[in-house]
Symmetry: C2
Subunit: 165 residues, 2 copies
Amino acid sequence: MSKHSPLNSIAFQNHDHSICIDQALALAEQRCHQLHARLTPQRKRVLELIWQSHKPLGAYDLLEMLNQASQKRIAPATIYRALDFLQATGLVHRLASLNAFTGCCAHDSHADCCFFICEQCRRVIEMEGNEVASIIDKSARQANFSYQQLSLEVVGLCPDCRTDQ
Amino acid sequence: MSKHSPLNSIAFQNHDHSICIDQALALAEQRCHQLHARLTPQRKRVLELIWQSHKPLGAYDLLEMLNQASQKRIAPATIYRALDFLQATGLVHRLASLNAFTGCCAHDSHADCCFFICEQCRRVIEMEGNEVASIIDKSARQANFSYQQLSLEVVGLCPDCRTDQ
DNA sequence: AATTGAAATGTTATATTATAACATTTACAC
DNA sequence: GTGTAAATGTTATAATATAACATTTCAATT
């Protein structure tokens, strides 16, 4: 795999997405175990909903989905807390330009991911940002800026949508 | 100037900022003239407030400043319209991770700027993103993704704040 | 098994950011 | 001067996110 190939390169192809979901959840269990973090049923459910979606979900989308699925009403704070946890454990990204959340495909280097966002269908490709990160690292050094985290969001048209034009 | 040097490299140094403001406003006049876009007094005032600030301002910050300065009450929509205009003409950037707006230092390539954001003092360095853009361009080609615009926001500590730690 | 302290969740209220929809005013081309 | 499009005013509301405090759950240790 090249240094900058898509992590979810099959995202825009037909595939058995249930396998993606299962893998992601298994990986999440594993990582949380390592971190001594608790992937509670609620947190797991949120992660699952995020992975089930083919595009990033807003907090209130998740809220609605959870509230439709069960009887008990859940409040925004609950969702945001679950999302905070999932971000802190590197399982989910927040895409600032969309105010929405997407599952993290990276095995490590959660902090340096890049996202290609289709402005038409809203689907997302996540890329390892190693190459970009090293450029930024260099620039940061020059500017004497201590760089902690980058967020790179690229807007455009995905292969499907650009041909529909 | 190297391909990736800061556009506002003196941002973290003491300087006569009124010159920055004047230059930015003059450039804005010029660009709007070229574009046959109207830099109305209100739009100009918003741009001026943004440049006067040493850190990005939220829409409601601007609202408050405008409403304190004059008698007439201005509504959010007015600010957002001015900001829309300033973004469309490439005079202002919206930093998605901050929900805030900052003056654009780039002479061209407004679409490809990178930002270093100090999480402590909230000041920002803007960089030309040419180098990053070319990497992204390459990746986009490989993924058959048509890339239109990128937004790169790097969070960390500026030279001043990292030494205060 | 009971105790307990920390973590997680529930609950209510509210803050913050942004837009929709329609009315009025302004500026420029003709 | 007049008509027209752009800009602004105005009112209401949508969408996103957090604060503050109460309650419950979990799991480590008696």
